[in-house]
């Protein structure tokens, strides 16, 4: 089996609330623990999920679609972690 270091995983989620500071922080902390490059795309803007300021700067709001993408050996758990936070945290706000 070839090395899986080039694994690319993408998942789209529709936000159920606005992406505020605390969930953005939670998301960046989680994303930074993975080796994979992890990005978030909203509309035509793509930022690193590991940069809390960039994630907050997206200004993502309820009803918008966010694409989480990761490239690297642990891309799959990285995307799963980011999507889980987007699903939970935006339901609460803050």
């Amino acid at each position: 089996m070839p090395a899986s270091s080039e694994q690319v995983v993408t998942q789209v989620i529709t936000l159920t609330g606005d992406l505020h500071a605390r969930p953005a922080g939670q998301l960046a902390v989680a994303a930074a623990k993975f080796d994979a490059d992890v990005s978030l795309t909203v509309g035509d803007r793509t930022v690193s999920a590991k940069s809390v300021l960039a994630v907050m700067g997206l200004g993502a709001t309820s009803g918008q679609q966010v694409t989480a993408a990761a490239t690297g050996p642990d891309a799959e758990p990285a995307v799963a972690a980011v999507v889980a936070i987007l699903a939970d945290a935006t339901a609460v706000g803050g």
């Binding site: 605390r22 922080g25 902390v29 989680a30 930074a32 300021l53 960039a54 700067g57």
Partner: protein, 134 residues
Amino acid sequence: MNPDATVGIVLVSHSAALAEGAAELASQVAGGTVPVIPAGGTDDGGLGTSAAKVERAIKQADRGAGVLIVPDLGSAVLTVRALLADPEDLPGPVELVDAPFIEGVVAATVTAAAGADIAAVRGAAEEAWHARKL
């Protein structure tokens, strides 16, 4: 150095209220696992900076992986530099970073919460110069 320790953050502001508020915000955004210690105002509670407060804050913030100091305005830098010139009583490494105050401390604290070393935490604070809000 303990590899599991997080980098500590110290906020040096001319205003105690500003340092405390910024520390609270950064700590909450990062999930509360990183020591973010405010050192604001003079010893008698006025506007200004205090080397004694900064020294206490550095010791409080130290978890064995270094401490990053974020100053609010230029003259806070003078207080910190004077303190760091004679580091024998301080835990190491203690570094002063040139970063925008609130964006820098939020970025640094989040990066520290992910377990990054002091160079990466410092880099995150410096990158905050390029972060756009709009």
